[in-house]
């Protein structure tokens, strides 16, 4: 059984008018079943309002399912006795770094989680050090978070989750507010956690270039999984992705244009380097 598993998960909420009278029901999540194995890097793509964030909030019990079940590491998240275990197993990083940093200095912020869990003081400091090192922020440990860039703040947020020793980390559009440099820093840190520390990663985003290294991509639309597969399988479906309001990586579009001009290049190559190598091979013969 996977570390995160959902079975026919559905979430409905009642829309109300100004006076609070019910107007109708919105089914934000509509029968999602997934199974994520330990160590996997899974990305969820989807346009605004597709249900991807709502889905993520069910995993550590921020929202409660209307129908269906969610298990984290075998524990049913609907059982109130499991909530704290679940949140420790599956840590969450949100979009806006300013909303999740509370400490006056970086190391204090990162130590907040383990301190709350009752970890002995000596071990807290060990955890703070290793977590900050994992996201390459250790040299900023004495700094005020206010003086950091967006990308750095977001890495501190990730370290704060890491210090709780989760098996799994869920990132809800962690780069939406960052510039290209900051986005790169954060994604690099996330990939390292997955590959080096073997932490299961669930990355929610609408930037397609952040997910080309994922093991599996799920595309959500209208609360359902509309498309899933390896990044190659998903991104080769250009028309379907456009229907789903998403971009297609330019390397796929480039291969397509070249094929239209009569030059045969595989249409499922992802990554700038990979694409350049493929074209170079064609050139040098």
């Amino acid at each position: 059984m996977g570390i995160i598993r959902t079975d026919k998960l559905a979430y409905e909420y009642i829309r109300r008018d100004e006076e609070g009278n019910p107007e109708g029901i919105t089914r934000a999540i509509d029968g999602v079943s997934i199974d994520i194995v330990p160590g996997e890097f899974v990305a969820i793509l989807g346009h605004n309002g597709s249900g991807k964030s709502t889905f993520a909030k069910h995993i550590n019990s921020i929202l409660h399912a209307t129908e269906g079940t969610v298990w984290v590491d075998g524990k049913d998240v609907a059982d109130p006795d499991n909530v704290w275990d679940v949140r420790q197993t599956a840590g969450m990083v949100f979009q806006n770094p300013d909303n999740q940093i509370i400490g006056q200095i970086v190391e204090e912020d990162v130590g907040f989680g383990p301190e709350n869990m009752g970890v002995p003081t000596k071990e807290i400091w060990e955890r703070v050090e290793e977590s900050l090192k994992a996201v390459h922020m250790y040299k900023y440990k004495d700094k005020s978070p206010n003086k950091l860039s967006g990308g750095q703040k977001q890495r501190v947020s990730i370290a704060g989750v890491l210090a709780m020793h989760p098996k799994c980390i869920i990132l809800d559009e962690p780069t939406a507010m960052l510039d290209p440099g900051g986005r790169k820093e954060v994604i690099r840190a996330v990939r390292a956690l997955n590959q080096v520390e073997n932490i299961t990663v669930l990355l929610i985003t609408h930037y397609m270039d952040e997910v080309i290294y994922a093991d599996r991509v799920l595309v959500m639309d209208k609360g359902r999984i509309a498309l899933q597969g390896t990044p190659k399988e998903v991104f080769s479906q250009v028309e379907r992705l456009k229907e789903l309001r998403l971009d297609v990586p330019q390397e796929i579009l480039l291969a397509r244009s070249l094929n239209e001009m009569g030059i045969s290049i595989p249409e499922n190559i992802l990554g700038v380097k990979e694409m350049a190598q493929c074209i170079a091979q064609e050139y040098f013969g």
Partner: protein, 282 residues
């Protein structure tokens, strides 16, 4: 002539030993009716620049002129300036607060002292300009999608009938379709009203497609100020200053590194495909 920056410096903590330049010796002229993009990495000074334009910040040195008058001179009417130079902040939907869309858009013009009727007429016009259908007018702004909320917030500024509209990262946090919709709408608005538009962004791909003139900020200074095509020619130094180029441009650079004699100036998929095809056919 509408906005002029004359040797403007903006220094944080000016009189302390921690002082640092947010903007350094900015000289800039923004003409009536221009469609300008300002790009730069986080901390490059682009937001500071826009806040100086409507006197939310005061330059440490130098002057900012609007229509020939120094906006920081004594007795200058800053309230009037801010209705003529409208600034839409980042994540403007966070500033929506009224019970319905229509009242929210009326708030600005009412505050200007206009009659209820005049304010409502302006709200109708502004909502039309951002492409919001009347079915939404009496809905709570909080029930709208991210892209729609943002359009309502932009309408709130347009209802003040500004001569210059500054948009700070209008597409941040929107999905690709929402991003295209907002930018197309702004382009249409530009065509219809002839208003001066200044679009702040950190995405080259977004801005380059739409604007006539691109100002690149780097470490508090103007690095380039030219048409997008001319600016893109400086691929390497743009990359060094923390800006992302279109992915195809990176592919071209990578090809060159691998020894393929390719011209790296392509910025669209079509241009890159043509260039690669002509090489491979040889």
């Amino acid at each position: 002539m509408s906005i002029i920056f004359n040797h403007v410096n903006y220094i944080y903590d000016a009189d302390t030993k921690h002082s640092s330049y947010a903007l350094k010796d900015i000289n800039l002229q923004i003409n009536k009716g221009e469609f300008i993009g300002i790009i730069g990495h986080t901390g490059s000074g682009k937001s500071t620049l826009t806040q100086l334009m409507n006197a939310l910040l005061k330059p440490t040195d130098g002057e900012v002129y609007f229509e020939g008058v120094d906006i920081n001179s004594n007795g200058y009417n800053k309230k009037e300036l801010r209705s003529r130079v409208g600034l839409v902040f980042q994540y403007p939907e966070h500033q929506l607060f009224e019970a319905d869309v229509f009242s929210d858009v009326c708030y600005g013009p009412k505050n200007l002292g206009l009659s209820k009727k005049e304010a409502e007429l302006r709200a109708f016009e502004a909502l039309r300009l951002v492409g919001m259908d009347n079915e939404y007018y009496y809905q709570s702004p909080f029930d709208l999608s991210g892209g729609q909320k943002r359009r309502v917030a932009i309408a709130g500024v347009l209802a003040m009938k500004p001569e210059v509209l500054i948009l700070d990262e209008p597409t941040a946090g929107l999905d690709p379709k929402g991003r295209d919709e907002i930018l197309d709408q702004i382009t249409r608005l530009k065509k219809e009203t002839g208003i001066t538009i200044i679009l702040v962004s950190h995405s080259m791909e977004d801005v380059a497609k739409y604007v006539d003139r691109l100002i690149v900020m780097n470490q508090g200074q103007i690095m380039y100020d030219d048409t997008p095509r001319e600016v893109f020619k400086h691929a390497e130094s743009l990359q060094e200053s923390g800006l992302a180029l279109p992915r195809v441009t990176y592919i071209m650079h990578e090809l060159k590194k691998l020894g393929v004699p390719v011209d790296t100036k392509a910025i669209t998929v079509e241009e890159a495909a043509m260039e690669i095809a002509s090489l491979l056919r040889k």
